[in-house]
């Protein structure tokens, strides 16, 4: 089922995130993709997340499409100006990749090319405007296009640390939907109760919210996230659970699966993020009963 149709079906959508390889050896990437075929509704391909140079997201999307998967491509505003972003939107369309979303992109200072010149010409909001305008046949300069592209547009809800920030995020999300976003990707969930409270407010947005489920890999990672990611509060009970497990990785898989199960009645879907551990995705899906 195409991603746009899945969104309309009101069924819980399962999306896996897959990083492209750093290099041209795509064997592991393809192997991980094959394991997902028929098990997820879409695969989200980040665009050089954390400013680490790797195979372009659109190229990765085409590879995944060849494997029979439904790709959602991210476009980072950090690396391309409005000409390049629009050109690649057209490129995605002719390559059969129609589900797209923009992200601002983490700062160059977080990545592996510290001396690079970032772009930030468009914001994710103006990217949505550009894509929506192109679907009507006009580019950002008001020039007519030969053939109108048709996109399924998404937008990200950035993290929030308090109620004031949450109100801001909801306003941004509402604006994104008004600009044409037909799905929203929410930050990783570690507290289902708090997320449930958020969803009470987010339900009114009118489009499916796909919640992030980040696979924890260690106690250290959990502590790091608690300290460095806004709005993340992984409970001491969860951390204790990982620490005392005989097989810590298996326990982390179990925690992710429990989160996915818990999200089912709350929102439109889950985005499973394994951050390099894509080979664990089938285990997570098995444990989630998906």
């Amino acid at each position: 089922m195409a991603w746009a149709d899945k969104l309309k079906s009101n069924e819980f959508a399962v999306v896996a995130e897959m990083e492209t390889p750093k290099g041209v050896d795509i064997s592991d990437f393809v192997a991980a993709a094959r394991q997902l075929k028929g098990r997820v509704d879409a695969v989200l391909i980040p665009d050089m997340s954390f400013a680490v140079m790797r195979l372009g997201a659109l190229s990765g999307a085409v590879v995944l499409k060849q494997q029979g998967l439904e790709p959602i491509v991210q476009f980072s505003c950090r690396d391309r100006n409005r000409l390049a972003l629009q050109a690649d939107l057209l490129g995605a369309q002719v390559l059969g990749v129609t589900s797209v979303m923009a992200v601002a992109g983490e700062p160059v200072a977080m990545g592996d090319h510290l001396d690079a010149k970032p772009v930030y010409d468009l914001t994710p909001a103006s990217f949505l405007e550009a894509a929506a305008g192109m679907a009507k046949g006009l580019d950002l300069a008001g020039q007519e296009l030969k053939g109108k592209p048709k996109f399924c547009l998404g937008a990200r809800i950035e993290p929030w640390a308090d109620d004031a920030e949450l109100a801001q995020r909801l306003t941004e999300a509402k604006a994104a939907v008004a600009k044409g976003a037909s799905f929203l990707v929410a930050p990783a969930v570690f507290d289902l109760e708090a997320f449930g409270e958020f969803m009470k407010q987010a339900k009114g947005l009118g489009v499916p919210v796909i919640a992030g489920v980040l696979l924890l890999k260690s106690v250290g990672m959990a502590r790091y996230l608690n300290q460095n990611l806004p709005g993340v509060a992984i409970s001491e009970a969860t951390i204790r659970r990982i620490r005392s497990a005989s097989d810590r990785t298996a326990e982390c898989v179990k925690i992710a699966a429990e989160t996915i199960k818990g999200l089912k009645p709350l929102c439109g879907g889950a985005l499973i993020i394994t951050a390099g551990w894509e080979d664990r995705l089938p285990e997570i899906l098995d444990a989630s009963g998906l």
């Binding site: 700062p107 160059v108 200072a109 510290l114 001396d115 690079a116 010149k117 970032p118």
Partner: protein
């Protein structure tokens, strides 16, 4: 110097609409040298604003004052005793000055009266041109004293692009090709060897691209 040009009167009128008494604050530094926001321009703008308001049958009380430097907290302190008399401050300084005033007097609206343009030099009376982009890692020693970052339209290194014709830039025949200027000067200096040295991809961290910058001089800290 930092160059600036005054904003259109209509825009300033829009800022002034809700107020009856404002402080029109000039700056004695860069904006004085480029005739955008010094004592003289404060007087001219005050007259223009008053007349424009009178024409609309309204009155705006404008108090004129010019500080030595608006980008220096020490001088900005001079208006501390009188600031409460005004509804707003209309600053004729560059963006640095406007922000220093706004940062010091947090409950007072501060509006810019000029558009800050660039770091430039005077070419002749009435003409200023961009000369420095503040990239944080000066290459002028290798480029004959002519900056490719500030003066090449594409900010490229290692020679001109294909759009350089007869010493002019393709974006505008009135714009000199920076790399032609660099070549000519290196030739005059007998240092064309520098032109042949390929400069590595620029490290943009020291420029604005690494985020807002600051200088901390430990030896001067009090």
């Amino acid at each position: 110097m930092i160059t600036a040009v005054r904003k259109p009167l209509e825009e300033i009128m829009g800022f002034a609409a809700p107020y009856s008494r404002v402080l029109l604050l000039g700056c004695n530094e860069c904006v004085t040298v480029c005739y955008a926001g010094g004592r003289k321009e404060v007087g001219i703008l005050a007259s223009a604003l008053s007349m424009a308001f009178l024409k609309e049958g309204k009155k705006l009380d404008i108090v004129e004052q010019t500080l030595e430097r608006q980008c220096d907290p020490e001088y900005v302190e001079e208006i501390a005793q009188t600031i409460d008399q005004y509804d707003a401050v209309f600053s004729m300084a560059c963006g640095c000055g406007v922000q220093t005033v706004a940062g010091r007097y947090k409950d007072k609206p501060v509006f810019p009266m000029v558009n800050t343009m660039f770091m430039g030099a005077s070419e002749r009376q009435g003409v200023w041109a961009e000369r420095c982009a503040g990239c944080g890692e000066c290459v002028l020693g290798r480029t004959g004293g002519i900056c490719p970052v500030a003066r090449c339209s594409k900010r490229i290194f290692n020679g001109p692009c294909g759009g350089s014709t007869k010493g002019k830039c393709e974006i505008d025949p009135g714009v000199d090709c920076a790399w032609q200027l660099i070549w000519d000067r290196l030739k005059a200096l007998g240092r064309t060897d520098l032109y042949s040295e390929i400069m590595p991809a620029k490290d943009w961290r020291s420029a604005k691209d690494g985020g807002p910058r600051r200088i901390v001089r430990e030896d001067l800290l009090s």
